[in-house]
Amino acid sequence: MSHIVLKLQQRARHLFFCLFCVLIALLCLFPFYWAIVSSLKSGADIFATDLVPKCITFQNYYTIFQDRTFSCALLNSTIVSFVTVCIALALAALASFALARISFRGRKRILIAILSVTMFPQVAVLSGMFELIRTLGLYNQRSALILSYMTVTVPFTAWTLTSFMREVPKELEEAAIIDGAGHFTILTKIFLPIVSPALVTTGLLAFVAAWNEFLFALTFTLTNEVRTVPVAIAMLSGASQHELPWGNIMAASVLVTLPLVALVLIFQRRIISGLTAGAVKG
């Protein structure tokens, strides 16, 4: 008797868990779904609350590409994010190897400093950053964005990679030392291949951060030629001053999300754990 009750209880729990999961999924995915649906509507349809659009039109997508502004912004975003990630990963790889593997004075303090830098709100550094960029003569240039994005991405990637580098068994490093490898060879030939899943993951996160960044991009750019997508979307305007072109904004938002989804899908096979299997016992 009691085991039937238990079984029922178990089923109920399972059902409840499933419902909960569905609820969370709905909560997360609905805004994105709504953006897609809205982008496929046109005219007054956009203010209708149907879950499924009555007639599908690609007019909005066509409109945003008619103007050069959006494609230019896409290109800017790509360049800025890509360069930021490359430089950030290169710097972070070198820094994290030193922080994780070479003992020197003040190592702990540097780590704490790196962590605390990531905690500053962007607004706090905005005015100082603006002065810096003006002094360097980078205002309204893509390099201004790259430089300012690195203040966020380098500490974050360095901190994450440091913890991954620490995980690499010490014997591997020692074996390489005995084999005659120097610090740089150990980093490039042993450590980086081993932590490559972490490199991909942190690189992806840094890319997303740079791709979606808005405040710095808004402040440090002036003209359409150097604007990134988030700013370009915000600047999208309709026929009159009082009309917000929701359809176009939604279409642009969907387009901007697609590269990120594609990147995650491409790299998901590399975001795997257990790459060190077989190195040491086990």
Binding site: I194, G278, A279, K281
Partner: protein, 380 residues
């Protein structure tokens, strides 16, 4: 012929002394085993030799040259790690070729040397695999191959067999012995398993608390342990220890020992053996008598030998078929383990009378130091 010499080497981390003034000569073309309980500093000593750690004081010489300031690669030494430490992202071939690539060897040279090494270790068919696709024994072979391929002056092994299961371990032990004969170079082998040391090594160095307790051939250590620690560490099962006292000195340097059971035994001690520690052998001072399980005999009929009888009851029997280890509780307190023939049955609780021949007694003074015996000269 590569000789490794350590002169008064110490290593301390903060206030903790790990290696405490070790002087050691590791002779060329031989296998030296460093043994000792965990934490005795044997692995640290190995790391000092290969250069992964720097000694706090003292010098290390390889082939007569001081290598204190040299990086590991210039010492010409290869090391096999306990955990194998194979590079997980490289194939077996690349693992073995890594050191050669760094040394700048030509591609054909590398390929040839790796192939040749793989052949000696019977891993040619595995060259394209990654470490995670290998079994424990295969990984071990590749790790050894990675060391051999460089043609080093000396090999250092850090507990190489401790990760393998028992069957594989004895197989690899055999292979290592074969390899040792083939390579004919200097090998230093760290292990906590005295059996491995006894079978593989030409010389054993027993360590405790960062010091060398005794260095010698396996049989020397077995038959003439310098102190209680070495006596208890070498030999399996371990030596039995019995408490006794000095009863009296008789003429002609004969020492009469009184056991707890009031039995006495006369042993002859050489003139110079007690020099400087006469007070430890005054009448009534306590002694420890060590006796190996195989030295005790059950048969009481052999009265032509000098010896002593120990009476007790059987408390536990481990019968392996070819031999049996019988644990005996002695009448006046104390236990002994005795090796007897495996073809008899020994019931627990049975009374048993053991005979301890005088010539097989190891005598240790109150400080645990062994007393030299006359018969020892003829032994080794």
């Amino acid at each position: 012929m590569t000789t490794i010499t350590l002169k008064n080497v110490t290593k301390s981390v903060k206030d903790h002394i790990i290696i405490d003034g070790i002087g050691l000569v590791i002779t060329g073309n031989s296998c030296t085993a460093l043994v000792g309980p965990s934490g005795c500093g044997k692995s640290t000593l190995l790391r000092l030799i290969c250069g992964l750690e720097e000694p706090t004081t003292g010098e290390i010489y390889i082939d007569g040259q001081c290598v204190n300031m040299r990086p590991p690669v210039e010492r010409g030494i290869a090391m096999v790690f306990q955990s194998y430490a194979l590079y997980p992202h490289m194939t077996v071939f690349d693992n073995m070729a890594f050191a050669l690539k760094i040394a700048g060897c030509s591609k054909t040279d590398i390929a040839q040397r790796v192939q040749q090494t793989a052949k000696t270790l019977k891993v040619e068919h595995l060259l394209d695999r990654k470490p995670k696709q290998l079994s424990g024994g295969q990984r071990q072979r590749v790790a050894i191959g990675r060391a051999i391929v460089r043609h080093p002056k000396a090999f250092l092994f850090d507990e190489p067999l401790s990760n393998l299961d028992a069957a594989l371990r004895s197989e690899m032990r055999y292979e290592l012995a074969r390899l040792k004969a083939d390579l004919n170079t200097t090998m230093v082998y760290v292990t906590h398993d005295q059996e491995e040391a006894m079978t593989l090594a030409d010389t054993i160095v027993v360590m405790r608390d960062g010091r060398v307790e005794q260095q010698g051939t396996p049989l020397e250590l077995y038959h003439r342990p310098k102190n209680l620690f070495v006596a208890s560490f070498i030999g399996s099962p371990t030596m039995n220890f019995l408490q006794a006292t000095v009863d009296a000195w008789q003429e002609d340097h004969c020492l009469r020992i009184r056991f707890r059971s009031d039995e006495t035994l006369l042993v002859k001690v050489p003139f110079d053996a007690l020099e400087g520690k006469e007070e430890l052998f005054s009448e009534g001072s306590s002694l420890t008598i060590g006796v190996r399980p195989e030295s005790l005999e059950e048969d009481v009929s052999c009265t032509d030998q000098e010896g002593v009888r120990l009476n007790g009851t059987v408390s536990l029997v481990e019968n392996f078929g070819n031999e049996a280890y019988v644990y005996v509780t002695l009448q006046k307190g104390g236990h002994v383990k005795v090796r007897l023939a495996g073809n008899c049955t020994y019931e627990v609780g049975r009374r048993i009378s053991l005979f301890l021949p005088q010539s097989d007694c190891h005598i240790f003074d109150a400080n645990g130091e062994a007393v030299r015996r006359f018969k020892e000269e003829s032994l080794c």
